[in-house]
């Protein structure tokens, strides 16, 4: 898999994430989603910008809100969708669902249903990779809610003391289900927690893909030089509710609308046009192509057979 270059490819990836998530909404209304899904709409610049800083051989750990990271890492939307519908062609043959999509071959060590669960795993992966003399960097995504878990602090401490190559990327979407960031997070900043562990902490506008890419590139570069981990807090917002399962919404519409005006995709579009990297028509064409790709993915997922019942007891060893 080639490295993303700052170009239309980023725009395409972000559009793909958004269209994918919107299709999940449609599939859910049709009663086809097996379980739940946590949509990434509004946060696309974080996954695409950060993953653009990844090199071949790098790994990432993801979260329950993981579709964006998978698409940014070029997983196949059709197989992702099949997994979300609980079908046999899904990445995990239907056994994982939305919260566990994994593709080790592309460095995606897995979405994770436990808030903060992936953070120590990222540290372990970095330790193992160093032991095998690999120069890989592990990108560890988590939400601001996870920064209040003990696992976050244990993992940052261990990564820092061992100078492991981990880029900790906090996606601060302001809300941990119904709990607002300010009411749950002492100190008012995740990035500043880096100082306690003696590592670089940086806060960026998570809706500005260039800013995310630049910060992730700096952090990964330092890690590759053996300078240890860094913590990047990306300020953003999830436009949708916590999950497609969670109907009630306690957030103020005004707040949601305010963040929608800072849409990361529209910002990218404006910038591409202003810098004459692309015309409005070029970008509209990309969106049309993305729409067609997602439609094909949905058709693939819907036509994928249910897993055979016998597979329910496969991969049981104890």
């Amino acid at each position: 898999m080639g490295k993303l270059v700052p170009s239309l490819d980023w725009f395409r990836r972000m559009c793909l994430i958004r269209a994918f998530e919107r299709e999940i909404h449609v599939l859910n209304k049709d009663g086809l989603v097996s379980g739940t899904a946590h949509l990434y709409i509004g946060m696309e610049a974080i996954a695409v910008g950060a993953c653009a800083a990844m090199a071949d051989g790098d790994f990432l750990t993801s979260t329950h809100r993981g579709h964006g990271h998978c698409i940014a890492r070029h997983l196949d939307p059709a197989r992702m969708m099949a997994e979300i519908l609980g079908r046999s062609d899904g990445y995990c043959r239907g056994k994982g669902g939305s919260m566990h999509i994994t593709d080790r071959s592309k460095g995606v060590l897995g979405a994770d249903g436990i808030v903060g669960g992936g953070i120590p795993i990222a540290v372990g992966a970095a330790y193992g990779l160093r032991l095998m003399n690999k120069s890989s960097v592990v990108f560890c995504f988590f939400g601001e809610g996870a920064s209040n878990q003990g696992s976050f602090h244990e993992a940052l401490n261990l990564a820092a003391i061992q100078r492991l190559s981990v880029v900790f990327i906090c996606e601060n979407n302001q809300w941990a289900l119904s709990a607002p960031f300010v009411a749950t997070t002492a100190g008012g900043s995740v990035a500043k927690r880096a100082a306690a562990y003696g590592i670089v902490g940086e806060e960026v506008d998570g809706n500005d893909i260039d800013a995310v890419f630049a910060a992730a590139t700096r952090a990964a570069g330092r890690a590759r030089e053996g300078l240890g981990p860094a913590l990047i807090e990306c300020q953003s917002y999830r436009w949708e509710g916590h999950s497609i399962f969670t109907r009630q919404e306690i957030r103020q519409q005004e707040e949601i609308d305010d963040w929608k005006r800072r849409d990361p995709i529209e910002r990218c579009r404006r910038k591409l046009i202003e810098t004459q990297m692309a015309s409005a028509e070029d970008l509209a064409l990309i969106e049309t192509e993305v729409g067609a790709e997602i439609a094909r993915a949905a058709e693939f997922a819907k036509s994928s057979p249910n897993p055979d019942e016998s597979s329910a007891l496969e991969d049981i060893y104890a």
Binding site: I121, G128, M132, G150, A155, L158
Partner: protein, 325 residues
Amino acid sequence: MRQISFAVALNEALKEEMRRDPVVFVAGEDIGKMGGLFKVTQGLLEEFGAGRVLDTPISEAAIAGLGVGGALVGTRPVIEFQFLDFITIAMDQIINHAAKLRYMTGGMVSVPLVIRAPVCGGIGLGAQHSQSLEAWFVHVPGIKVVMPATPRDAKGLLKSAIRDDNPVLFLEHRRLYAATGEVPSGDHMVPLGTAEVKREGSDVTVVATGRTVSLALAAADRLSEQAVKIEVIDLRTLKPFDMQTISNSVGKTNRVVVVNDGWRTCGYAAEIVASIQSECFYDLDFPVQRVCNKDAPMPAAAALERSLMVSEEQIVAACSAAMSS
């Protein structure tokens, strides 16, 4: 054959596997310079260096995550919890991750992780350093659970656990560390999932785990004075356990006592009793007996501690009861 201690046998297994496979590494609290609280990792730091022998912070969740993440990218971590009680802090990584990842990914990944921990009371450390929590782990699909009773098996089972591609919880009874016995040098392996008949007999089968195997053998000696012939089975692997060896024995003796030094209620012994009941019902001449630790937190005082723990006398009494009609 040479005699070495249980702790030295474990140490030998670690050294041999680390020499054989450069991606095996150990991590835990005080395991490096100090060689581990119970000396199991002594000398590893000197031979293999700090990269493969990691003295960690007191961060059990991070230690477990180190193991899971390391295993996912192709190394073979052997992590140590200083006391099994401390694993409670790491349960998310073990139950929600290590035990689930292979299944949850449809077989895409596996987690070759060994989790070592001393288990059970008997040395006066009180309720937070004395628990036998094996029943928690055998309950959860996705974790193999091993509990050796002899230095020979300690070495052979640990080597097998390290070569296994799945998570293995390796429980070391802390009162066994100093026990000595014959242990083959070199590549001595004991496969996981196989029990061993430690003593043959025709009257009562005693199925025992860990340190209770030696108590069962002592009880068998005592009962032999009354011409009662006890067959003692050491399960060695608690999950997956060797039902065939149990069934063969019960088919011969028709009477069974199951011994485990964890708590009784929903304890490990309960599963063995239930399996015998359902698979060997028509072979049984008497209800299956169960000898376990009493259902109470472990007190620190030696006299109180003794009163709660499985004893040779209790095994003798249970065997006598099984022979009573």
